[in-house]
Symmetry: none
Subunit: 269 residues, 2 copies
């Protein structure tokens, strides 16, 4: 994705996107007027530069013109930085930052209290301490199982993130793992062995929740620098109740995120 301002007084946003291959055109691509240049050869492996004819390499182009400042900002690339947060960093930088923010999580409470999305609930364990509600994530339209995405929201309200978890929360976490898998299998026919079940750190809101996504779906936020498998979290806590109050945790922050500024001010980036 590329953004380029026009030079003529008024700005434009131009978005260029390479589109997926179309299966029925692949044979043409390998035959038709295609220039091939050897780049590297080692044993049975070789790599080439292939230069396809224009009609086989369409680029999807979107133009916003005239574009306002807001349009320009929306499409500008943000640099990301990896943070390795020790427990001391959490106490001194991250926790005060979370507490100073007033992220509204009213929408979470609305779901837990059945004031919103009550008809969307897939499963509930009503226990106030070890219970949770399982709902489809906003990002999933439920039209196909390929990008299945559900969220388990815990009933208890004082657990902000992974950093707050101890062995005390094992019954809750095991309920989510076990009942969540069963509910998804029952409702959607997707077995537990085809689910990626994980927490985010940092999460996007500080009320404990667990992500359920289709294993074959390259879900945003499922990469190693953000996702923590629930099974691993359970094993870590079973091994050491204070695991998440000891260990350094890695996550990425975009250049415009306030938390990054806090780490920079503390000389930790």
């Amino acid at each position: 994705q590329v953004t380029s301002p026009s030079g003529e007084g008024t700005d434009a946003v131009v978005i260029l996107e390479k589109t997926p291959f179309q299966e029925e055109k692949v044979l043409d691509l390998l035959k038709k007027h295609t220039k091939l240049e050897l780049q590297m050869h080692n044993d049975i492996y070789s790599t080439y530069h292939l230069y396809p004819p224009p009609e086989l390499s369409e680029i999807k182009t979107t133009v916003v013109y005239p574009a306002t400042e807001k349009h320009l900002q929306k499409y500008l690339r943000q640099e990301v930085h990896l943070i390795r947060e020790t427990w001391e960093d959490y106490k001194n930088i991250t926790l005060p930052f979370i507490q100073s923010q007033s992220f509204s999580i009213q929408w979470v409470y609305n779901i837990l209290e059945k004031k919103a999305e009550a008809d969307r609930i897939i499963h509930e364990n009503p226990d106030p301490c070890d219970g949770f509600v399982l709902v489809p994530d906003f990002k999933w339209n439920q039209n196909q199982l390929d990008d299945l995405y559900l969220i388990a929201l815990v009933h208890r309200r004082e657990v902000k993130s992974l950093r707050d978890l101890t062995a005390e929360h094992l019954p809750l976490l095991r309920n989510i793992l076990q009942e969540g898998k069963e509910a998804v299998a029952k409702r959607f026919g997707v077995p537990g062995s085809q689910l990626r079940i994980y927490l985010h750190y940092q999460p996007s809101y500080y009320h404990l929740h667990v992500h359920f996504t289709a294993l074959g779906y390259d879900a945003p936020g499922s990469s190693v620098e953000r996702a923590h498998l629930l099974t691993d979290v359970i094993d870590n806590l079973a091994m050491d109740s204070t695991y998440y109050q000891k260990r350094a945790l890695t996550f990425a922050l975009r250049a415009d995120e306030l938390l990054l500024k806090k780490f920079q001010e503390a000389g930790r980036v």
Copy 2:
């Protein structure tokens, strides 16, 4: 990604990948012999089909020839299953399976012995025990930093995977982390805070190696069910030398993979 067998008795795998845009070529793309076809117009928004000249729409092509049945299977689309492998599973199922296979890693030895790709080496620590070679991964064409991908291959040959690691390997792993980051910063100007540095489990070949990818790049195999951050691996081993001979590890296997069959036969799936 497309796979196509040749029709001539011996099979080949052909992988076609569209590569990221190169920033310095975007202006050419918008000017030079580029056919533009209006598709949709609404207020300030419009979309086009853009047909670029061949030299501006390179497709990265990888050929495996001759390809074995195993190579063909590797690239065909398959259902995936999540496995939670205990240490007993590793000893009783995975290790015997690895030992029974004869997947050639001659290409790794070729690199370590400078018989191939010697001119591509970015950095080397020649120590036979704690040293390694850093090379660009086959998947990266080195034209742009967006999809930067390098591999550190260790010189010692008896370490198959994460499962073999103990505190004994900490000097090696710390060298890879430290020197790898420095070498990438020096050669490519990408700081360590913008690198995702990790191991795969299961790896695709059983000679210890570490992946370096651009943090902003959604690299294949960087998701939580396969990737293990090198910093986490180091912390785990520093905490407990036998961590990886104790812990259950999660990974996905495609339906056609022999190892899945072994887990099924053992009643573990």
